[in-house]
Amino acid sequence: MAWFHKSEVVIAGILVLAMILIGLVNPAFWSLDNMFSLLRSNVIIGIMALGVLLVMISGGIDVSFPAFAVAAMYLTIKGMLYFNYDGVVLPFVAAATMGALFGCLNAFFVYKFRMIPLIVTLGTGSMVRGFLLGVVGTSMININKMPDALIDFGKSDIISMVKPDGTTYGLTAMVAVYVVLAVALHIVLRYTMIGRGVYAMGGDPEAASRVGFNIRKITFFIYCVAGALAGFAGLLHSGMIWLANPRDFVGLELDVIAAVVLGGASIFGGRGSVLGTMLGVFMLVMVKNSLIIMKIDTTWQRVVVGVIIVIATAITAWRDRRANA
């Protein structure tokens, strides 16, 4: 019965139950079309959640990543337009690098001044967003100006299907990008020294440093990777919606943190897994998207997300207490 107590199994169970319930209210939920669009909505939140997961396992919290994502995205696209560059690989490398540099800033303040990550990331987030909107600009870059290569990349599908009425729909290839990143992070967390160090630091920083983990290196690794993932996700997002909006992602941190907590990660650190986080993201996106299908007024969305956060955190707090007792 050991598998039954794994939090991933519990989350998956609740997820299946919720899916059956939503399907009963409105069978349209189970259509392939809806499933594909659900998976598509998972990609951006999911990639960002991977970064937040990393930070949370180490015992920190990050609320600056939406600002980093939007800044990396907007600056990269501005740069592409300025240099008249039309490609895919280099911009993504640039966006991820920019995100990583912003992340370094977080790591520097968290490590050097031993300040609570929440307050540091509140500050860096406000700084980066303020700089972007105040100095770089507030105008949107629309589809007619967006680099074609990015749009084509964002359009690519893995599976394409034709509906009876002739319109086509498909599963976006970005899902594959998300899965590859998730698997990579899973391998790093499970099988590399630095990955184990992240868990060790989350469990007890003092103990981790006594057994020889380099806390400075780990802190920089965590926040840089989280920043890089955010920057990458930001550019991917603009490729998928064919628009670069410097006011995007406001308030997204709440959704992403909710998803990660829902996935079983503990804010005290030391706990959390990639699989759990992916399930948590799917659950959150599904609930938000399904409110419309279930004919609930969309004004209730925020309330539902809030209640989900409270319930999920209450359950994890209860679990942590039992584990410690």
Partner: protein
């Protein structure tokens, strides 16, 4: 002779206050030098006394939550929800003459509704934190969403416009030539300062924040104290909400969202230790005044709001660095 000694004693005891005052004077001098004719006008300072109480009360609310090592990210949600509940009630009671002429009794009832909202919301936070043992960050992050969400549900999105005149007086009026919100702020700040310094409740809060384990062994009722502190935070937030809705004559689910970061910044800047145990109303009040001068100065210099956000962020990081540096040299 004796007085002078006392004064020096005060300086040594709270080094932080002196630094804050020096910083305020520095900001004042720099802003005056940059645009003397516009910055020094009476009108400018008068308008500051109208806008700063909201932020000041929210910052004090944040400080109270930080005293026990917590934080309250739902203060903005509570403030808006309080204003909206009162506004919805006024609409219900409105006579044919319109909302503006609502009787004094109804306005008083509206105040009770708004304060009650803050009390209940704060109690909810406190119960989640003490009973269900949820970390304050996550609990208030969640409830903040719920409060903002309820505000959206109540209004359907757009602002509720039109509050009674007596209500608007709280945000716009004058008492003895001073802005009503400013007077209200001073009274409340003194009250809270007294509570924190001179009552068992305040001293217990400080002790719990300084060393939770020692407080437990000393027999302090930690859970009850923390619950009460979040209720107090909630009430302070709802008063900020009353002032905000009174001043703007409207209430909306997403008013003042940038206040959240600013309230955290001001609390930290004012010498509050986010890990708990340290914080003064005086420090926070001076920090609010300093930052209001700064942002009004920048507005006069025609900086965009986004750039001011940037400066707030830089400021917060600088303060963190400075505090860390100070603590090390000690």
């Amino acid at each position: 002779m004796k007085r002078e000694l006392d004064f020096r004693n005060l300086l040594n005891k709270d080094n932080n206050i002196v630094q804050l005052i020096a910083m305020t004077i520095l900001i004042f001098v720099v802003m005056t030098a940059l645009s003397p004719d516009k910055f020094l006008r009476y009108y400018n300072f008068e308008s500051i006394t109208y806008t700063f109480p909201e932020l000041g009360l929210l910052s004090i609310a944040m400080m109270i939550a930080m005293l026990t090592g917590g934080i309250d990210l739902s203060v903005i949600g509570i403030a808006n929800l309080s204003g909206i509940f009162a506004g919805v009630m006024f609409k219900k009671f409105a006579t044919d003459a319109g909302v503006a002429d609502t009787g004094f009794g109804i306005v008083l009832l509206g105040g009770v509704v708004a304060l009650g909202t803050g009390l209940v919301a704060g109690a909810l936070n406190g119960l989640l934190i003490t009973r269900l043992k949820i970390t304050p960050i996550l609990a208030t992050l969640g409830t903040g969403q719920v409060f903002t969400g309820l505000a959206i549900v109540m209004t359907g999105g757009p602002a509720i416009v039109g509050f009674p005149e007596a209500w608007a007086f709280i945000g716009n009026g004058k008492i003895f030539g001073l802005a009503t919100p400013f007077v209200l702020f001073v009274v409340l700040a003194c009250l809270i300062a007294f509570m924190l310094r001179r009552t068992t409740f305040g001293i217990n809060l400080m002790l719990i924040g300084t060393n939770p384990k020692a407080a437990l062994f000393a027999g302090l009722k930690r859970e009850k104290m923390v619950l009460l502190s979040y209720m107090l935070t909630g009430v302070m937030a709802s008063i900020a909400g009353i002032i905000l809705s009174g001043r703007t004559n409207a209430a909306k689910s997403d008013y003042g969202t940038s206040y959240l970061l600013q309230a955290v910044l001001i609390a930290v800047l004012g010498g509050t230790n986010p890990a708990g145990g340290r914080g003064t109303v005086l420090g926070v009040s001076i920090a609010v005044a300093a930052l209001m001068l700064l942002s009004s100065g920048f507005q006069i210099l025609r900086f965009s709001n986004h750039l001011i956000d940037f400066i707030w962020g830089v400021f917060l990081l600088l303060v963190i660095a400075l505090n860390a540096y100070k603590n090390r040299s000690r």
